[in-house]
Subunit: 368 residues, 2 copies
């Protein structure tokens, strides 16, 4: 599969206006090469051109990772002493004669650490943003990728179902989050998860990006759980909102509105329509109900190897949906200083519509 993916690069290398693509450790690097490196203080860079085997600069102690690759790669390993790294990088970049050329980069992944080493070997090169082209290669998921995401959804759902019976009034958000992570692992998630679960109760639920705190669950809280699993390198990203015992009528009302917005967003997803339509469909429900000001973020983001990737469900994004695109639909209402609701599902575009990979009950469940 990876050999096929490397050949996917040939067309953009000939038509995108750049002569090479350089990647540091990132999902795109793993997608194209099958190689996985951690971001660390030791720079790793791969450079792809149309005419040569890929070049990789890496620490000597990572060389074993190249054993048995199903394609040719030219390695420039460097020793432990950082004083020697720049020379190795220069030789690698110069071997491809890239000075004065256009070398595509992914600004969201590439650090100055790697970039400056590459630039030292090609000081007069341009470094155009290749993100759109590279994400274009990754955006239509194949059957294997969708199968992995389906598993990641299943693992996440089972993990939360296994956690809910343990949820009690008086438990802290952190305790609940730790238990959920345990259940994610027990149910089959890889240990390197895409993000730490958000478990936020009461006023914290009104912060869409809250981190689990020491606050203890109280009767009357809304409880937002935003969690996901990782299976075979692909992730799920779901949210459900619960009522801790009896909650105010307005909280039940905003939950119902978000539930309808979530359904409307999912219903709008099909091939050939702009991403904006998904956002608009969900947002319209919330605006009509008078809570438009309190839906403070976009309706969704792409998922795959990353928690956030293309395509983005924003009102200004006219990118057309295509079969194989996978993303979240996650409208919310956040009442500042009060409580919040979000309901998030994972959707993949099919030939004639969309399939929702997640199916855990969305209606307001009473817990605790």
């Amino acid at each position: 599969m990876t050999t096929t993916r490397l050949t996917k690069l040939l067309e953009p290398l000939q038509t995108s206006g750049w002569d090479a693509l350089t990647l540091n450790p990132s999902p795109s690097l793993t997608y194209l090469t099958g190689l996985h490196f951690h971001l660390s203080e030791r720079p790793v860079v791969a450079i792809f051109t149309a005419d040569h085997a890929p070049v990789i600069v890496l620490p000597e102690l990572e060389m074993l990772k190249l054993n048995g690759l199903p394609y040719e790669i030219t390695a420039f390993p460097y020793p432990e002493n950082p004083a020697e790294w720049d020379g190795v990088f220069r030789r690698a970049v110069q071997s491809l004669r890239l000075d004065g050329k256009r070398i595509g980069v992914e600004p969201r992944a590439m650090r100055l650490l790697e970039f400056r080493h590459v630039k030292a070997g090609a000081p007069d090169a341009d470094f155009p943003d290749a993100s759109d082209v590279v994400s274009r290669l990754r955006v239509r998921k194949d059957a294997d990728e969708i199968a992995a995401m389906r598993k990641a959804v299943k693992v996440a759902q089972s993990a939360l179902e296994a956690t809910l019976p343990l949820l009690k009034v008086g438990m802290s958000e952190k305790e609940l989050a730790a238990e959920l992570v345990v259940q994610l692992l027990r149910n089959g998630s890889q240990s390197e998860m895409p993000f730490a679960p958000i478990v936020s109760g009461g006023p914290n639920s009104a912060n869409p990006h809250a981190s689990p705190s020491e606050r203890r669950l109280q009767p009357g809280d809304l409880l937002v759980v935003d969690w996901g699993a990782c299976v075979d390198g692909y992730i799920s990203d779901l949210t459900r909102t619960f009522a801790v015992r009896e909650v105010e009528a307005e909280y039940r009302k905003i939950h119902q509105i978000v539930l309808e917005a979530n359904a409307a967003g999912r219903a709008a997803a099909k091939p050939g329509v702009p991403c904006a339509n998904v956002d608009k469909a969900a947002r319209e429900v919330i605006e009509k109900a008078g809570y438009g000001l309190y839906f403070t973020h976009r309706t969704g983001h792409g998922i795959g190897m990353e928690g956030h990737e293309e395509p983005y469900m924003r009102g200004d994004n006219m990118q057309l949906l295509e079969p194989g695109m996978a993303f979240t639909v996650e409208p919310g209402i956040y009442l500042p200083g009060s409580n919040g609701v979000r309901i998030e599902d994972n959707v993949v575009i099919t030939e004639d519509g969309a399939e929702c990979l997640s199916y855990m009950l969305r209606e307001l469940r009473v817990v605790g």
Copy 2:
């Protein structure tokens, strides 16, 4: 504490040859400001100068994080539409009149995503590498930081002790790693851990950076477990090597050599000596035993908020150890295609020597 830390920046801002420091989401940003952001496709940048309150550019939906900060900060929030981000960044950078000035960066953390936005607001600025100065601020741990690291060591040790009774011949490396992560969480680690445990048996143990695989533990394997916990934002990073039932005499021999190298490295650690001495002391033991070629990495790295930070225990590093510096001592012997050993402890320099925070049994234990 954080206000004190911000004042630590004043001296380098006046003497280090740069007019400002710019940071993206990173441990240094958290250390200085107490703020924690995830790296995402939404850029976040803080800029510090001697004359103004810190400036931060961030997504509108992250603004709640600034509530209740114990110091003044000037926020430039941007909306969801990426087309508007550059304008907000320009206004933020221009508000500090930094064009043509010197703006320090941390190349190991700063991505082109954030860097290009800052540069757009100061196109003629220089961006010198400020890593050494910033890491200098963080390198001497205070009592609170050491207390957190001590807890992180204790949690890690308890977690592995709780995992060992479950270890059986026939278990896969992945299964064992997942169980260890569960025990790390049960024993009190934060769920965002600094690194996924390495669990590598038999030939995989000869790869210092192996990822847990489907390979099942077999009698005769050496088993390397490299793991750590995170408590209050500070980490531990330990390694122990086990014998799965009866192992070859040479494996027992290399374990004994590494054990002595580990002790020699720890014994060499005290204030006023170069980092190189710690590396040399450990390496000499392995070289004298005839295995120098098979100790393929440095002897250690600093730890704290990050898994790898200053100071580095390398033979060429003449940086002097100072009280409060914390690092790993982790010599190893890796016999390619055969088996490997590593023994790693966490050490902190005291006024008159060094304290080893980790105390789990280092001798070769038989498991399975």
